[in-house]
Subunit: 179 residues, 2 copies
């Protein structure tokens, strides 16, 4: 089942800020709706970003247990702010082997450990789209209450200075408020 | 770009044997064509299996180097036999973490080490399809000369008795000859 973020005038999320961070920009719509679909959108005129919530690729058992015990689900009533940040990694990243990617991702960049510090305030969901022929590799999605906006900015700023981010060749930052 | 194995009366591969190994059977056509497509097939009447040749998920650097130095490419003129074996792994497999899957895949099952022994005689390509909403998780594809059929049968029989295969819940075995 695909998750589709699309141009939906009646969508639940209003775009309040949109800016390129690296690479080619996007032109997101004013409102974004999130839906589940059994097929990839086929209307070329529809603005959409589509991904799938796949299995975990890097976490080890102790990390998974820590994440599961601390993380919050999507859709909390108080989480009226969201961020949709699609990213594309470079060919150099995808040429790495599994152990090398894990080394950059966690040993050098502490991606999991640093994300854990912001749970449960920041709810997260990663959607994979590299294998779907989409323009990005991942759609990263976060939901939080307005009072945790500062913590979220800290997390984003921190991740962007890690070794992992040297492999990010395209990133666009969309911030949303529940409409 | 998707790789599509489909019912193609003029396809380059003739099905010479087809049998379920585990789980629900398939009804493959008499001839199979292999094509590249930018979109997932949308004709519900078309028999097809579709996947993407994605990045490596388990191999480490030394293993990747060994594979690359020894493996043969697809399409060798002498490789007139092929096998298309779609497989689906269980929920228990996908609930494992990366380190646990690697432990089953290589430490316990020697999937990479045992496959290496059959290079370059058996050319291999793995296509991923779990994230495409397809009925299988992987399409495994092998090409070999008729005189290496025995070696291929050994490899298949060996893999099916490994710890990894306890996680296979559906598998269908299609053998082909170049038409």
């Amino acid at each position: 089942m695909f998750t589709v973020f699309s141009d939906t005038p009646t969508g639940h999320w209003e775009v309040i800020h949109a800016a390129p961070y690296r690479g080619d920009p996007l032109s997101p719509p004013a409102r974004i709706g999130v839906s589940q679909a059994a097929f990839l959108p086929s209307d070329p005129a529809l603005w959409h970003l589509t991904g799938v919530p796949s299995y975990v690729r890097y976490v080890e058992r102790a990390e998974k247990s820590a994440l599961v015990s601390r993380q919050a689900g999507l859709g909390r009533p108080e989480a009226t702010r969201a961020a949709l940040i699609p990213i594309k990694k470079s060919a150099a990243w995808w040429d790495l082997t599994q152990d090398e990617r894990r080394d950059v991702f966690e040993t050098k960049s502490h991606h999991i450990a640093d994300s854990l510090k912001h749970l449960p305030a920041i709810a997260r969901q990663l959607y994979h789209c590299r294998d779907l022929g989409q323009p990005f590799d991942f759609l990263t999605w976060f939901e939080y209450a307005p009072e945790h906006s500062g913590a979220f900015e800290e997390l984003v700023a921190h991740l962007r200075q890690t070794a992992e981010w040297a492999y990010i060749e395209r990133e666009f930052d969309i911030r949303l408020a529940r409409a």
